[in-house]
Symmetry: C2
Subunit: 155 residues, 2 copies
C-alpha cells in the first residue's frame, strides 16, 4: 500500500502527561484504513451528588500493561481486520474535563473500529488494575473500579 | 456545575480546512460528562483494488446541514443524556490518511456517547447528500454514497 509497510501495532502507554486526541489517533491512522474510532474518558465534576475537584490515578504499571495487552489480543481475535490499537492511560492528577484514558482503533471499514473501541473501554474498566482517587471539594476517597472483576474479591 | 452553564449544543460544520480531533473533541467536552466518543473517517489508499490518489467531496451545504441537524435531533431523542454533538465534514480535496469527517459526542457515562456516535456516522452515510469523487492514480469517478437512500433514485 503506497510502498509503506503497515503491520498491525499495539501502542500501550501509561503516562503522567496530558493525553491529546490527535497524538493518539495519529498512532493508529493508516493509509489502508478508512476508519478511526476513539473513546476519551474525562474527569467529571460530580460523583454521587458530590462536587469532584480532580481525580488521581495510580497503577502498578507492568501489571496494568500486561492486562491492556490482553485486551489488544482479544480485540484482534474478535475483529481480525483491525489495524492499529492505541490505549493511553494517564496517571497522577487529572483535572476536571481532562482525559484520563484514550482508546483509539483503526480498521479499513468503520463497523470494526466502532465495535472494537466499545469492547476495549469496557474491558479496560473491567480488568485493568488502575486505581482512582476521587478528590472532592471537602474530602477524598480511594475507589476501586466497581466494574473490575477483582473489586469484589479484595476487601 | 462549577457555575458554568452547559446547555446541550450541536456544532455542525462543513469546511475546506483540515479536521483536527482535538479541536472537534474540545467542542463537546463538558465538565459534567465523563465520556467523549469520536469517529474519524479517513481517506483510504485503495478502493475495489484500485489505488486511490485522493478523494474530493462536494455538497450543497444548506441541504447537507439540514440533514445533519436531523441526525442530531434523532440522537437526542434516542439518548437524552447526550450533552454536546459535533459533526464536522471536510469538503474539497482530502489526501490519503486525512480526515473527511469527524463525529464527536459527549455524555455523562460512556455507553450513550459510544452508541450515539455509531448511530451518527451510519445515519450520516445513509442520509446526508455529500458527494465523493475518488481520484485514482490513472483515472477518476464520481460516486454517490452507495448506502444513501437517494442513491437508487437519482440516475
Amino acid at each position: 500500500m503506497n510502498g509503506i509497510v503497515d503491520e498491525p501495532e499495539d501502542f500501550i502507554t501509561l503516562t503522567e502527561d496530558k493525553l491529546l486526541a490527535d497524538e493518539v489517533s495519529a498512532l493508529v491512522i493508516s493509509p489502508s484504513c478508512g476508519a478511526v474510532s476513539l473513546f476519551i474518558g474525562t474527569t467529571r465534576n460530580n460523583f454521587d451528588g458530590k462536587k469532584v475537584k480532580h481525580l488521581e490515578y495510580e497503577a502498578y504499571a507492568p501489571m496494568a500493561k500486561v492486562e491492556i495487552k490482553k485486551i489488544c489480543t482479544n480485540i484482534r481475535l474478535k475483529w481480525p481486520s483491525v489495524r492499529h490499537i492505541a490505549i493511553h492511560h494517564r496517571l497522577g492528577t487529572v483535572p476536571i474535563s481532562e482525559a484520563s484514558v484514550i482508546v483509539a482503533i483503526s480498521s479499513p471499514h468503520r463497523a470494526e473500529s466502532l465495535e472494537a473501541v466499545q469492547y476495549g473501554i469496557n474491558a479496560l474498566k473491567a480488568t485493568v488494575p488502575i486505581w482512582k482517587k476521587e478528590v472532592y471539594e471537602e474530602e477524598y476517597s480511594w475507589k476501586e473500579n466497581k466494574e473490575c472483576f477483582w473489586a469484589k474479591t479484595i476487601k
